[in-house]
């Protein structure tokens, strides 16, 4: 009874409380800044990211004393502008991979855990086979076969990233299936589809959200690695990974070329991981109980 009277704030207020946790606050802030930067890149970036000007090649960072704040690359392209545009690719890939693989993984995982038996066996065999591939090698193979494009890159990453969702969703669905409320729904005449949609999947959302943040970070790293190897998105699109790759030849003379893209990747992945960590802590029943009461 005391619990009931304690709940006076609305559910929106409850959501706001989340941001009082430092990890979640910092993580969300970093991602929000990047999102705004990527979304409004044409307005924010001082230069066209692909505009070459060989007269101004290899300028060191001018900081606030000149137009090329973070310097230029060997072709005279503005580093800061390329970084801002690069955020677009990283975020598109991160978000698309996290959502698509989440959808596939949670669907297959919940079906696998709920039905068990033959369905489960088949899905789990697929999971084991996919899990056995070295992830980067697999992506390279897919891109080598299908050619370089943003869509192929996302598909290649989704093909591996759904697996952690699937495994966790399956394990949870297995335990949810035995809960009395699922049995009660069956006694009410609910079909398997209805039970999955109304009773299993909604209870998988919180953990999937946490896995999603880690999947997003991993996808951004994978994209950078593949771009570094020259197998990412087409060269006409600036990305942090391909900037690092280009910087390799000039690493001893122009420190700013590798440092800034590297820093951007680091901060982005850190921000997403902080958010994921914070959400996980928040959703851990033991910790959240200690925190709320």
């Amino acid at each position: 009874m005391s619990k009931m009277t304690g709940v006076t704030y609305s559910s929106f207020g409850k959501q706001l409380q989340l941001f009082k946790q430092p990890k979640i606050f910092v993580g969300t802030l970093i991602i929000a800044v990047l999102l705004v930067g990527g979304l409004f890149a044409p307005l924010i970036a001082p230069f066209d990211p692909n505009k070459q000007n060989l007269d101004l090649a290899m300028l060191a960072p001018q900081w606030l004393s000149g137009p090329h704040v973070l310097g230029t690359d060997p072709l005279g392209r503005d580093v800061l502008s390329r970084l801002i545009y690069g955020a677009r690719v990283s975020l598109i890939i991160g978000i698309a991979v996290a959502l698509l693989s989440g959808f596939i993984g949670v669907t297959l995982g919940s079906v696998s855990g709920y039905f068990s038996g033959r369905t489960d066996l088949i899905i789990q065999k697929i999971v084991e086979v996919m899990w056995a591939f070295p992830p980067l090698l697999f992506a390279i193979a897919v891109i080598a076969f299908l050619g370089q494009s943003l869509v192929v890159l996302i598909a290649a990453l989704v093909l591996q990233r759904w697996i952690p969702y699937c495994r966790v969703a399956r394990a949870q669905a297995l335990s949810l299936r035995a809960r009395d409320f699922v049995e009660a729904a069956r006694a009410l005449g609910a079909t398997d589809g209805r039970i999955l949609v109304h009773h299993i999947v909604p209870n998988l959302i919180p953990t999937s959200l946490v896995i999603g943040t880690f999947a997003m970070a991993a996808a951004i790293i994978s994209e950078a690695s593949l771009s570094f190897l020259g197998l990412g998105v087409p060269r006409s699109i600036p990305t942090w990974g391909s900037m690092l790759s280009d910087a390799r030849a000039h690493i001893s003379t122009s420190w700013w070329l590798p440092v800034f893209p590297g820093l951007f990747i680091l901060v982005t992945v850190l921000g997403i991981n902080l958010l994921g960590d914070g959400l996980r802590d928040h959703l851990d029943p033991k910790l959240s109980r200690a925190g709320n009461h």
Partner: protein, 320 residues
Amino acid sequence: MTLLHIEDMTKNFATGGGFLSKTGPIVQAVRGVSLQIAAGETLGLVGESGCGKSTLGRCVIRLIQPTSGSIRFDGQDVTTASPYELRQLRRKMQIIFQDPYSSLNPRQTIGASIMEGMDIHGIHAPGTRRDSVVELLEKVGLKADHFRNYPHEFSGGQRQRIVIARALAVGPQFIVADEAVSALDVSIQAQILNLLLDLQVMMNLTYLFISHNLHVVRHISDRVAVMYLGRIVETASADDIYLSPRHPYTKALLSSALVPDPQKPPQKVSVTGDVPSPVNPPSGCAFRTRCSLADEICARVDPHLIFQGSHGVACHHAEK
């Protein structure tokens, strides 16, 4: 009028059985049970844990498919009902579980939980379902504005009221209450039991009330059936069972329960040892391994329920 008619029902569970070995040992959870429940009556089913009473309850509403035997509800065979027929039967038979914390989906509001059955079966026009839910909430002693709350905001007793409302939402005639009050505080138990009794009168319900608590069963039941290792060993009206038990197991059960009357001399019957494994039940009478009256006939011949009037006992030595 008999509403539920269980005839020689058996349920075996195959245990183990992995990738290579197809079947492990078989657990005989329910072994040839026959029972009848009349409309409007409450049958109390008692027995210690593991005796198969919950399995029986779940088979009756076909959450589990029995291995053999027949269950007829209102003349219709439950065990062989087609998916469509079963769906229709679900409206008439409902179940209330023991654990009120596991019985409600934590991500569903109370209103949505109660409304689900109406949605599934298309009961009431969609626009009026909300009003029906509110009516049910009030009927089970909750408030209309609990509609939007989530389960974690309620106590165990309140949750059990919600679970009862959910079961009533489809307008059932028959409810299996599987240890429905066992997880609650004693003071709350009485409230929920009285609620169940009130609802029975109000909505003409029939209950199969499963419990290990003899006092609770006596309070609510018209008739009682005592189960031991998958068998019914004694069945009679509640008063007969409590005042003149005839099966040694029933006597032992009753003497193990604390009597609130200190004047009454303590009964001496007691049992020793553990319940035998349902994987490998004893030959003859299942209770003979713990029974003080057991002799060689008990090891050879499995006693059947023998009725004197409405009082049935499955024991070779019931007269002693």
